[in-house]
């Protein structure tokens, strides 16, 4: 009995220490497989998820969320209450247009999932006002610039696309990133065994 108990608790401590909770995912994304085995960095990730139907979601690190929202609200003159900003801080990723955002934040957390997932409006040309992804990118870079150390200022822009998504959609996202002078970024893939 004692031995089994020991083993059980040893395993328990192992799992407690190694576990990292899977971040909440705004949409189901089936990443394409690749032979690349580079690991994701821990901090400074900006993840742009693209669902199978092309919906775009934007996610920044939890500690920067409120600051990014404030930056974008300041730029676009979006009226937001403190409660709404706080609600945004608890949201894993944005996938609504800026016009809809205040209303979306007022809805109870559990009921948001029932709403249709349209994603961030993304229009070509990428510099047009309808391309809201650009606004989010600008706000994130502005927030990152205020950081103290060089390491903290570094943002890892990451595209997490569904393998079945149309390339056209991914291209628009990539092209938007390029417009903001972000020319090297990561693509999230799942590991495939070497053939």
């Amino acid at each position: 009995m004692t031995a089994m108990c020991d083993v059980a608790f040893l395993l328990l401590s192992f799992f407690i220490l190694t576990t990292t909770f899977r971040p909440e995912e705004p949409i189901a994304v089936d990443s394409p497989s690749s032979i690349s085995d580079l690991e994701m960095p821990e901090k400074g990730n900006v993840i742009i998820s693209i669902g199978k139907k092309g919906e775009v979601f934007y996610a920044v690190d939890a500690i920067d969320r409120e600051a990014v929202l404030k930056a974008i609200a300041g730029e676009t003159g979006l009226p937001l209450s403190n409660k709404q900003i706080q609600a945004f801080g608890e949201m894993a990723a944005v996938g609504v247009s800026l016009d809809e955002l205040p209303g979306f934040l007022d809805i109870e957390k559990s009921k948001r999932n029932e709403l249709p997932k349209r994603g961030i409006p993304l229009d070509t040309p990428t510099t047009s006002a309808k391309n809201e992804l650009g606004k989010w990118i600008r706000a994130s870079t502005a927030v990152a610039r205020t950081k103290a150390t060089r390491e903290e200022r570094r943002l890892n822009f990451t595209v997490k696309g569904d393998g079945g998504a149309k390339y056209d959609r991914i291209k628009t996202v990539i092209s938007t990133l390029q417009d903001f002078n972000i020319n090297s970024f990561n693509l999230i893939t799942s590991l495939e065994r070497k053939k």
Binding site: A8, T19, S33, L38, G163, I174, N183, T189, S190
Partner: protein, 179 residues
Amino acid sequence: MAEVNAGGKKVSTKVDMTPMVDLGFLLITFFILTTSMSKPKRMELAMPDKNEDPKKQEMKVKESHTVTILLDEKDKIYWYRGMLKPDKPLNELKKTDFSKIRNELVEVREKIGTEKDDKGKVDYAMIVVVKPTIRAKYRNIVDMLDEMAITNIQRYAIVDITKADETYLVRYLREYGSK
């Protein structure tokens, strides 16, 4: 101490461990189920700077050393060597898929390595231009990048498809069909 019991009976000092072990295993189960052992991986992609003069970024590669890969719907790949001229014969466009493209790329590279130019010199430089059509899936591009990594082709670019490429492909499909 009060160990001198009247009946001389000894009280067991052992604690019942069962509930604790139960709890332990419950927690283990929980952590096993929630933990994600395989972290997502990433692949690096660098695109050219849009603001920079495209002429500056140009690489000098011989026309015949360019391989253009067109990615079409349903995981179909079409590729050709050299420049696309209006009179390019249709049979220079090769139809293939992801199971064969790797060998074909390696073959082309070997072939380029044996070809001598007018001065009798061999130029090994080869560049692959990937042009996905709007019908291509994101997976296709990632697979193609993978092939570049596997075949160790360092010079490649993902470029927007041109009108000429589209017309060439359409002409080919009309002639031979997509089967």
